[in-house]
């Protein structure tokens, strides 16, 4: 058993961790229905598994109140009653998804109106990265991991810090984050994520052809990307959100010790506790005003 996999092991073995957005508020308002979306995604997952015998797929659901692992192609627990209409893999996935939604609903509390209904992208990113770390430590022979975000909900600025941390750790582990954004506006977080980690970001124009987008752009393994032309965004929105109010800002104050971003002048940095000096004092002032410009 040890020799056979090594012979078959090639550069294009991939582990794809798919983060599926299950924010019910978004799907309610979306032009693409959730069932159509699911059929696109399920067919896509199947296709990935057929591209190479050793490919692996993991699906994590990004819920409104929680996140959880939905499917793991390498585990043997994919037992489900054989349903003649679809492969076993799909039915077990759907089963788990349903259970997840029930649990997620139970966790929801009454939230006042006006809040942006964003899903917990930071949570699912972190879970994906943890899974990938485990794969890294499993041995020398392991597939090349990447993360694919299928997101539709808008960005939640309160998750800025967590998402940036996840992005930087993905960059450090050399895990590309691809993102397919199905919402109406642009997602700054996902653009930054793909830009920083070297992944692909795309916002499909024809949502009913989502499967085609997924197959053309996101199914390619990392090795082949060096000679394939994939769509590139013209510019990236690099705006940050401030640490105090979680507003998206493009001009603010930065602590020169820990680089935390604030929108208003503070006497003390809330992250590292450095005391900011007078505005005009020579060498002692730790606060500097800087501008982050959106590059378009």
């Amino acid at each position: 058993m040890a020799s056979a996999p090594s012979k078959l092991y090639a550069d294009d073995v991939s582990l794809v961790v798919v983060l599926v957005d299950t924010n019910p508020f978004f799907w309610r308002a979306s032009s693409l229905s959730f069932s159509q979306f699911l059929s696109h995604v399920l067919a896509f997952l199947n296709a990935i598994l057929t591209l190479n015998q050793l490919n692996q797929v993991v699906v994590i659901a990004t819920g409104y109140n929680s996140c959880n692992y939905i499917f793991d192609s390498s585990s043997d627990l994919n037992q489900s009653f054989e349903n003649g209409r679809m492969p076993v893999m799909c039915s077990s996935l759907l089963q788990k998804l349903e259970e997840f939604l029930i649990k997620d609903e139970q966790l929801s509390k009454e939230v006042p109106e006006g809040r942006i209904k964003s899903s917990l992208l930071s949570g699912s990113l972190s879970m994906a990265l943890c899974y990938i770390q485990r794969v890294f430590r499993s041995g020398a022979l392991h597939p090349h991991p990447r993360i694919l975000c299928l997101q539709g909900s808008p960005d939640g600025p309160e998750q800025y810090v967590a998402i940036m941390n996840a992005i930087f750790s993905a960059q450090r582990s050399m895990v590309p984050i691809d993102s397919c954004y199905m919402g109406a506006q642009n997602s700054a977080f996902l653009q930054q994520a793909s830009y920083i980690t070297g992944g692909v970001h795309h916002k499909p124009q024809h949502l009913d052809g989502l499967f085609q987008y997924l197959m053309t752009i996101f199914a390619t393994d990392l090795h082949s990307r060096s000679f394939l032309h994939l769509p590139k965004p013209v510019g990236v929105d690099f705006r940050a959100s401030c640490f105090c109010h979680k507003n998206t800002i493009d001009m603010g104050y930065i602590c020169s010790v820990c680089l935390s971003i604030f929108c208003k002048h503070h006497k003390k940095c809330s992250t590292c506790g450095s005391v900011f000096g007078q505005a005009q004092s020579e060498a002692a002032s730790a606060s500097d005003k800087k501008r982050k410009t959106p590059e378009t």
Partner: protein, 597 residues
């Protein structure tokens, strides 16, 4: 030489032929004041040192009277005749001192802000940095020399660079020369019987280090009992007597002149030092000193040829000194290393510095009584090579990062606020339905798909075709415009000159913005002028950027305008802020009642 002024009786002559007006000359650090004795005469003079360029004087040995000629900027001269040459000497030294000091000051450009005291070393560092980094040099030329930023402001943000440069300079201390320079030979004047000894501070330092008795004598006798000149004359007389090895003559002269006797006798300080050293030696390990040292001050190391003590010439024993003694002492001093690090200007300072260092080392030696601790200290001292150690980094305050959970707990509270307007119109999913309904609909979708199965076909062919077309189109156009590599930047595809210009503009804009934003809030008038200067400089950059856009070939124009846009936006934001601030100020000043306008 007294402190900051010199007062002498002198005559002031306007020309050489002029007999001169007698009066008092008083020189302070800033100016020269001459007041004639006769209040009615017209020779009063009040000149600031700034205008004095140089000085000339008549030589002492010549037959001319003692004159001092000070030349000023306009090539006029002021001639002062003194009563004797020592007065002339004092004035000359004073003028020389003031001129040297003012020479540094006049080189700095006139700035309204308080001048920083730049040492010559600091100036050198800056010049060196500018020479090494051409980018820094162009920035410096652009801003400092055209008056937009001052030197101080420019270098204020680059302290780290300067520190790094300063530390790069080797801090190794030069040790003593191995050659015995203290054993100097005089130069003789063939005609007369005079010999001249040339003493430099280096030689003097060695003499003091090797002969502590001479050092002590210097500190006690000069300038109270004798002048430095006399001191050295006596010292060299003693040396001469030693070299003749005529101990009888030495004893005779020592009996007459007690100061000379000091130089002729054995060095009792040395003797006591070596005895002290022996008492403190760690006999197991330290070869620092041994019994032989106790006898270095004695001839032949106290070892006698045939075992018998020589009884003769006992009273002249003290006045004998052998070459081996000198050599050993010199070697010991060289190996000890240089203890004095200050600038050696004149004999007095050398003597005092050496005395101070000796004092320090002796107090250090006496303080620790614990022998094991001392031994450990010795071991660590011997293993460290101070010259080669890295420079002392200033102590840093420890960084404490708060518990990250605080963020995520607080996000609940913050997220309740409407952040919709901050995102500038991005969608808010306003849902008037309850969560129950939406979850229910989701679950329904799942049951639908479970019942029906996957869509058939997954994708309609026409839609797929459409998607393909659009993708191909977009990929090929962006590939043409931007390049294959997602991380590749547009800059690399521009011609080199334009790329450099753009980068230069970017760094200069950053520099200006850095100074601009750090000047707010404006509290002093200096900041006000600074901000105005910066704003003018920033508005100059606009047309330059437009020019670049125009000079680029048309297919690259779009990329270049994309690159220039953030620069424009940054400048716009700064100028907007400036104008808003101006408006606020004018409104505030307009509000004041008439009396305070």
């Amino acid at each position: 030489m007294t402190g900051g002024h010199v007062t002498k009786r002198a005559k002031y002559k306007t020309t050489i032929k002029d007999p001169g007006t007698p009066g008092t000359l008083r020189m302070t650090l800033e100016k020269i004041l001459f007041v004639p004795h006769n209040p009615k005469s017209a020779g009063k003079l009040d000149v600031e040192f700034r205008f004095i360029k140089g000085q000339k004087h008549t030589k002492e040995g010549s037959n001319k009277p003692p004159w001092l000629n000070l030349t000023n900027n306009q090539n006029g001269s002021f001639i002062f005749e003194f009563e004797n040459y020592s007065d002339l000497q004092d004035c000359r030294d004073f003028v020389g001192k003031v001129l040297a000091k003012s020479g540094e000051v006049s080189e700095k450009p006139t700035v309204t802000y308080p001048d920083e005291q730049l040492s010559a070393a600091e100036m050198e560092l800056r010049i060196k940095l500018l020479q090494e980094d051409s980018e820094l040099q162009t920035l410096h030329k652009q801003f400092v020399l055209s008056g937009v930023l001052t030197e101080a402001e420019f270098w204020a943000t680059r302290k780290k660079l300067l520190d790094r440069e300063a530390n790069k300079k080797t801090k190794q201390r030069l040790g003593f020369k191995s050659a015995m320079i203290s054993d100097i030979k005089p130069s003789t004047d063939g005609r007369t019987n005079k010999v001249t000894f040339n003493l430099t501070p280096e030689i003097i330092l060695q003499i003091f280090a090797e002969k502590p008795a001479v050092h002590r004598a210097f500190l006690t006798y000069v300038p109270n009992k004798m002048s430095e000149r006399d001191f050295w004359t006596k010292y060299f007389r003693a040396e001469y007597l030693h070299s003749t090895k005529n101990s009888v003559a030495a004893a005779a002269e020592a009996a007459e002149d007690e100061e000379l006797a000091v130089f002729l006798k054995q060095d009792d300080i040395l003797a006591s030092e070596s005895r002290w050293k022996i008492r403190r030696v760690d006999p197991t390990l330290d070869m620092d000193a041994d019994e032989g040292d106790d006898y270095t001050h004695l001839p032949d190391h106290g070892i006698f040829r045939d075992g018998s003590k020589e009884v003769t010439e006992s009273e002249n024993e003290l006045y004998r000194r052998t070459l081996s003694q000198d050599i050993n002492r010199h070697a010991a001093v060289v190996l000890e290393g240089r203890a004095v690090d200050v600038e050696l200007e004149d004999t007095r300072s050398v003597a005092e510095a050496l005395a101070q260092s000796k004092q320090e080392s002796s107090t250090k030696g006496e303080s620790d009584g614990d022998t094991s601790r001392e031994r450990l200290g010795r071991v660590s001292r011997m293993t460290e090579i101070e010259d080669l150690q890295a420079p002392n980094i200033l102590p840093l305050a420890p960084l404490c990062i708060k518990d990250p959970r605080d963020y995520f707990d607080s996000q609940q509270a913050n997220a309740l606020r409407t952040s919709g307007d901050a995102l500038g119109g991005t969608e808010q999913i306003k849902c008037s339905l309850s969560s129950q309904e939406v979850y229910g609909s989701l679950r329904q979708s799942i049951s639908v798909i479970k019942a029906i199965g996957l869509k058939d076909p997954i994708v309609k062919p026409e839609v797929a075709h459409q998607v393909f077309d659009a993708l191909t189109q977009s990929i090929s156009t962006t590939k043409y415009n931007i390049g294959k590599n997602p991380q590749e930047s547009v800059l690399d595809r521009l011609p080199k000159k334009i790329k450099e210009e753009l980068l230069h503009h970017w760094t200069s804009i950053l520099e200006l913005l850095r100074h601009f934003w750090s000047s707010y809030p404006i509290t002093t008038s200096y900041l006000y002028t600074k901000v105005n200067r910066l704003k003018d400089a920033m508005s100059h950059i606009y047309p330059q950027l437009e020019e670049i856009k125009g000079s680029v070939p048309s297919d690259l124009r779009h990329q270049v305008s994309l690159l220039i846009r953030p620069m424009h936006q940054a400048l716009d934001a700064a100028i907007q802020h400036y104008e808003a601030d101006m408006q606020k100020r004018s409104m505030r000043s307009g509000e004041r009642p008439n009396g305070y306008a």
